[in-house]
């Protein structure tokens, strides 16, 4: 795995920083940070699938939504304990991940992206018309059991969840499976030509991504206490996830976290000046500039600066 002391130091510092934040910032900022944490989880989930394998998903809310709806329905409509509902939601999301995998066995590129978009759209329509007594139909559901009370507890729960997912995914992808998935994204036929089953690798990536999406979706709905299909199955939500990954640095795990925090704060701090959708021009512009000059994202910029400092110090 090639783990070094500075890896542990960096993750430790990050955890320490997160733990300290409630002492340093206002409750309003903490609420923003909670959204950043959940966006980071969704971005990591997207990165596990699309950042590595190159199978670009435009329908990630399909998986997030299944996790969120399953847990919400189980707890609110059937009185299932939340500790049981969340694991069930994760399992159901992973089964849904298998459904998304099916088209990936035959198509890729823009065709796959469009199919995933169709999955999201289909889910949006289905939750509105099929058993609205369960899903809440167009209006969604409210009064869903929450896991925490107050911004501080919500922040700690989302931070622990994000941190554990990030470290687990980071460790996982430092093993040979990370190399194999990266290779899959770079040249699928050469992976097959190296004696590896691409179906097996894809299945793993889709399952891992669905696991994180389901977990994130379920916890998110129990943080919000409500679910609104229009906000969840929204193309803007998809692009926010994708842009967070790309701005931060795809295929890195750390990049999506940086991107999620950067994007959430950018949009939040622009709000007083540009309350409408104009904010998206700014973030689109930043994303565009970054892709032009550093397509590998902020993480690559930071690493480059770190290496050049290191080289200078060595001289």
């Amino acid at each position: 795995m090639g783990l070094r002391w500075f890896h542990f130091a960096a993750w430790g510092l990050f955890a320490f920083g997160l733990a300290l934040l409630p002492e340093l910032v206002s409750k309003g900022t903490l609420r923003t940070l909670i959204f950043a944490n959940y966006l980071a989880i969704f971005a990591i989930s997207w990165d596990l699938l699309s950042g590595r394998t190159g199978y670009i998903s435009f329908g990630h809310p399909f998986l997030i939504g299944i996790g969120a709806y399953t847990s919400a329905i189980l707890t609110k409509r059937f009185g299932v304990e939340v500790e049981i509902a969340i694991p069930i939601a994760v399992i159901v999301t992973m089964i849904a991940g298998l459904i998304v995998l099916l088209p990936a066995l035959r198509i890729r590129g823009s065709y796959f992206a469009l199919v995933t978009l169709a999955f999201m759209e289909l889910m949006y329509q289905l939750v509105q018309v099929i058993r609205p007594d369960l899903t809440g139909g167009t209006r969604g559901m409210s009064g869903i059991q929450t896991l925490t009370r107050g911004a501080v507890n919500g922040f700690y729960l989302s931070s622990v969840l994000m941190f554990v997912i990030a470290v687990a995914a980071w460790l996982l992808l430092r093993t040979r499976i990370g190399t194999a998935l990266t290779a899959l994204g770079l040249n699928e036929s050469a992976v097959e030509g190296s004696g590896l089953s691409t179906t097996k690798l894809k299945m793993f990536a889709f399952m891992a991504s669905a696991f994180v999406a389901g977990l994130g979706g379920a916890f998110y709905v129990h943080y919000l206490g409500s679910i609104a299909p229009r906000a969840l199955f929204d193309i803007n939500f998809v692009f926010t996830i994708i842009v967070a990954v790309l701005i931060g640095g795809a295929s890195t795990i750390v990049g999506p976290i940086i991107g999620a925090f950067f994007l959430t704060f950018l949009l939040e701090y622009l709000r007083p000046f540009l309350p409408g959708a104009e904010r998206y021009f700014i973030y689109g512009g930043i994303a565009l500039l970054l892709y032009m000059y550093q397509p590998k994202g902020i993480y690559a910029m930071v690493m480059k600066a770190w290496h050049s400092l290191h080289e200078r110090a060595a001289k």
Binding site: R176, A183, L186, V191, E192, G193
Partner: protein
Amino acid sequence: MTHALEIRNLVKTFGGLVATDDLSFDIKTGQSVGLIGPNGAGKTTVFSQIMGELRQTSGKISLFGKTLGTRPTAERIRRGVSRTYQIPRPFLELSVLENIRVGFMPNSIWSMITKGPDKDREIQLALDVGFSQNDFEKPASDLSMGDLRKLELARTIATGAKVLLLDEVFAGLTTGEISQISGLIQDLRAKGFTMLMVSHDLPALEPLVDHVIAIERGRMIATGTFNEVINDETVRASYLGEV
């Protein structure tokens, strides 16, 4: 001596075009065979059928006495046959060692996660094919064509295959690189690998093969030693352009 590879009455058609026409030949274990023919003769199509990348219309392919049937490419590789391509297919953003690592990987997700890479084996193989220590961390995108051919050969060997199909290994190489790759192939012969090689570079091919098969329009037109095939009248007329 057992046959590493047996091709029997292989036929491949694409609509009205017959790409492989009732082709049959055997390669003994440890033997090195050259497959020659003009452009479009169907040499690469034979490779693709052996690897399962193309499904034959009819006929049988056996590896070490066992029919390959409709087995997928990855399984054929695990059974012992692997190939290189006319245009190398590296993982451009991965380093030399990481490219080789993919070849060494077991086809088990669990093993990939729980067992670390065998760096010593990766380094040894990289050195064996002629990389230096300075090249190990270089991304494949920074390599020359000669190095890419070496890298592809290394990844093919890393799969553990004992039958290697080498497609145009000398294409696009400098004289120095040709002699380096040629030396590598000689080493592989000495180690007992079975090889089927396609090359238009006949002088480079000559010292590397025990036997040559010439095909034209998917049909075998001559077989024998290098000199026998090269001096065959049909081969001279169709391939070498001599009347």
